[in-house]
Amino acid sequence: MSDSKPKARPLSPHLQIYRPMLSTAMSIFHRITGVALALGMIGLAWWFTAASVSDAYFGFVQGFFYHWFGRLILFGFTWALIHHMLGGFRHFIWDTGRGFELKTVEWLVRANLFGSILLTILIWVIGYGVRA
């Protein structure tokens, strides 16, 4: 403990050093969607609260989410939710120690991305079907 001054040590290479890969992007997306979902939970809590308050207030909140901007938020929320959930399945597979071969990883992240887009569209088709 002679010298406690921080030394200029070499840093390990970080994100900007590596070639951008889909697997990297999906890892970052998993985190971003998680944070976005946390914000979205305010909306869900707001919706439950409004339903417990009054007809007028619930009508206002239903109207907010029916507005194009509200629907845009809900669409983004749906995609973030599905993407994060499918990403979670990927982590469950990795937790068992399987699926670390590069080919499998590439397949998993593609399935994650395309699966989330397809399922989001499917949910919205069902949503519009129920609503109509």
Partner: protein, 126 residues
């Protein structure tokens, strides 16, 4: 040479004294979230553009209320764990980090209290 005692090694709890507890809770809530989130998504879709009375009538079924409260508990617990990691990764100033970690706990707990109160209120027909 390791400076750790034999007891410390066998407990395997590391310097933070919590070991894999955070990881384990993250996975437990993740697994619980799968059916619970699907239920919430179905519940929201089923009540698109619905009148308040319809939502209240659905929540008055005990099972619906119980599953919704479980969903909020599991989702918000998972959210708290995840946001904690994000804060620990990006916020480095000690005081700000502590403030963020506290705010995260209060945020998750507050959202749960508000949602659970609303669901119970409707379920009890108040």
């Amino acid at each position: 040479m390791s400076m750790r005692s034999e007891l410390s090694k066998v407990r395997g709890l590391g310097s933070a004294k919590s070991g894999t507890e955070h990881f384990w809770q993250q996975r437990v809530t993740a697994i619980a979230n799968v059916p619970l989130v699907i239920f919430v998504v179905w519940f929201v879709i089923a009540h698109l553009g619905a009148k308040r009375a319809d939502v209240v009538a659905s929540i008055q079924h005990p099972l619906t209320a119980i599953v919704l409260i479980l969903a909020m508990a599991s989702i918000l617990w998972h959210m708290r764990l995840g946001l904690q990691i994000v804060i620990e990764d990006y916020v480095h100033a000690p005081a700000l980090k502590l403030a963020c970690l506290l705010a995260n706990i209060f945020f998750a707990t507050g959202l749960f209290a508000v949602s659970a109160y609303a669901i119970l209120k409707m379920s009890f027909g108040l």
